[in-house]
Point group: C2
Chain length 372, copies 2
């Protein structure tokens, strides 16, 4: 029966916007025997996982841990804890996930204003300065790497400085950044950030690492109303992780085994080596895509090395080619959506998926399919 299982699950080459491929070592860690959520061994593991996450986020924040949900749960956790109904929130929207932050902030009861850039562009520092001068906001939300476009926002430290000058917190989405490009929480002055297990960390989906700075913690401590969500209540999470280890929910020991192992692998390679690997494999992909007639949409200056969005000619039946890639070559890439539907593909080279052989396999398959 178990044979049937592993035989029927297809061995995909995962080159979409996540999940990425999982190293055998991490899958093996995942399948170790389950232990209890209050087992002293698991609590020790949390301490190690926290220290590893602090290195990856480059932060000393005590509130640095993985919550029991996906990246969207991490996004919601940060917002639902920081926002009280009636708060003013400024959301910088330059793609799908920027808008998702605005949607969640609205559901939290915030009065949301947006600054916009067309999908595929990024913001200048002046755009934040102007918006924050016009109105007082409690917090500003910003996506570092926009997974819907492949654009990386620059000048994060300057944007954080502007937010702080105007007494606003900066919340940074690092879902498609963490582990693939520099994320420097303390040096940049980020107040709260979250990520996801299944992108550049190459850990199975189900956990969302996040980090909360001192200013943000104080905002949470000064709340006058309880957090809307019990499940995502950070005081309860922190108490379970860092504090008295009281029961809050039954965290998944198996997912944490995998997270620890994935973080160990990343730090054994070294952050800078890992970023260089992502960069050089992306460059090989970009060169190959240009040759095939799919130039990247995003200018190199702010193009993500972990998620590439090649333009596709209008005459190409792009959905058919993606289906053939999956069915005939076992390769997953993703289509564009929203403003970029039908106009780009989204090709991820994240974590364990970022290998030169995967670039070769993909380019080779694409070449055959567009000429076939």
């Amino acid at each position: 029966m178990s044979k049937k299982n592993s035989q029927t699950i297809p061995a995909r080459v995962l080159l979409g916007p996540g999940p990425s491929m999982i190293a055998p070592r991490v899958l093996e860690a995942l399948a170790a025997p389950t232990i209890g959520h209050l087992d002293p061994y698991l609590l020790e593991l949390y301490a190690e996982e926290q220290a590893l996450l602090q290195q990856v986020f480059q932060t000393g924040n005590e509130w640095t841990f993985s919550i029991s949900g996906t990246g969207t749960a991490g996004m919601e956790t940060v917002l639902v804890n920081l926002i009280e109904p009636g708060d003013f929130v400024l959301c910088a929207v330059k793609g799908y996930f920027g808008e998702r932050l605005a949607e969640i902030a609205t559901r939290c009861g915030a009065a949301v204003d947006r600054i916009w850039r067309p999908w595929g562009e990024t913001f200048t520092v002046e755009e934040f300065e102007y918006a924050l001068t016009c109105h007082k906001y409690k917090l500003v939300t910003l996506v570092h790497t926009e997974t819907s476009t492949g654009a990386v926002q620059g000048n994060i430290r300057e944007i954080a400085d502007v937010a702080h000058k105007h007494d606003a917190l900066l919340v940074l989405d690092t879902v498609t950044s963490l582990g693939g490009v520099t994320v420097d929480i303390d040096a940049w002055g980020i107040d709260a950030a979250y990520a996801a297990s299944q992108k550049c960390l190459s850990v199975p989906p189900g956990l969302s690492p996040l980090t909360i700075g001192e200013r943000a913690r104080q905002v949470i401590e000064k709340r006058t109303r309880p957090v809307h969500s019990f499940y995502l209540d950070l005081n309860q999470y922190a108490s379970y992780w860092n504090g008295a280890h009281g029961y809050h929910h039954t965290a998944s020991s198996n997912l944490h085994y995998a997270m620890r192992e994935g973080l160990r692998m990343l730090l054994e390679e070294g952050l800078e080596n890992c970023f260089s690997r992502h960069k050089s494999n992306a460059e090989a992909l970009w060169a190959g895509l240009e040759v095939l007639g799919f130039p990247p949409l995003i200018p190199e200056f702010y193009r993500s090395p972990v998620l590439t969005t090649p333009r596709i000619p209008v005459e190409l039946e792009e959905a058919r080619i993606r289906a053939r890639l999956l069915n005939e070559y076992n390769i997953e890439i993703a289509g564009g959506f929203g403003d970029l539907r039908g106009k780009v593909w989204r090709i991820g080279l994240m974590g364990h998926s970022s290998r030169l052989e995967n670039v070769t396999i993909l380019l080779d398959a694409l070449k055959k399919l567009i000429r076939g």
Copy 2:
């Protein structure tokens, strides 16, 4: 390194209130290669998982699936989708988890009334009838097996009838019931129920199976305000699972492999056989505990066969014995908490943990420790 991993994670005999032990076949399924959240193979797996869950919940509800979080996430999902701020909710509280439902309903903005029984007791149908006659409620919350006490609420169908007579929905917590004792959603007339992967289903923690009936779906469809939570929004979940399969969040393929395998195992054994196994192993445990001087707190009439709460003599240093069980025998059991702190242990025989050899191992170790 992977060797180091499996060597350092202790092989516990899990006899607490969950997680339970995971069958090798399920752990092997868990570690199959990760695939994407929109992979056609995963969507097929969802269809199979749904059909299996419908058999286990004994329901034809189309909205039957596993959400990406633990049992507490399932609890919150049901409440946050059914409740709008200002709604009147009646919570039946006879232990910790009944009170947790009241806490979450309050955070959802409900006006919450409670009916109470002391920890370890259950309700009569008349108590619901009286409360529902005094005031009009949108929904009633009830815990089937209270994990803090080991008491199983009877007369669920009659309580559902009373709720419906008064135009209220009945929400049933089946976290510590599903897969261990009869849960008959459609015959009982339950409007919404949720469970957890890591108890009698013996699947690693991280998923919460739930089921939503037609009446409850209509209530969700008639909402005038968006659900507070984006992550736990059931319309979005259902659309991802059953509908157009639009992107909502990156569900964990690995956890779903394990869930499907655990459900397959359960149904290969057969629900009735599985319930009988839980019952007979529990009876062996109860007999052994009586001999050792630890009579179960809960009368046999409504005592759970999956979670036993033996009384412990006041002179016993119970925490020390639990620590020695864990450190010297690798056996996890749990202490009482809340009103039962220091007065009972909580011993689970759930799913793959419900084996006669585990009863023997535990009783033998206890005998040595209390005499040592």
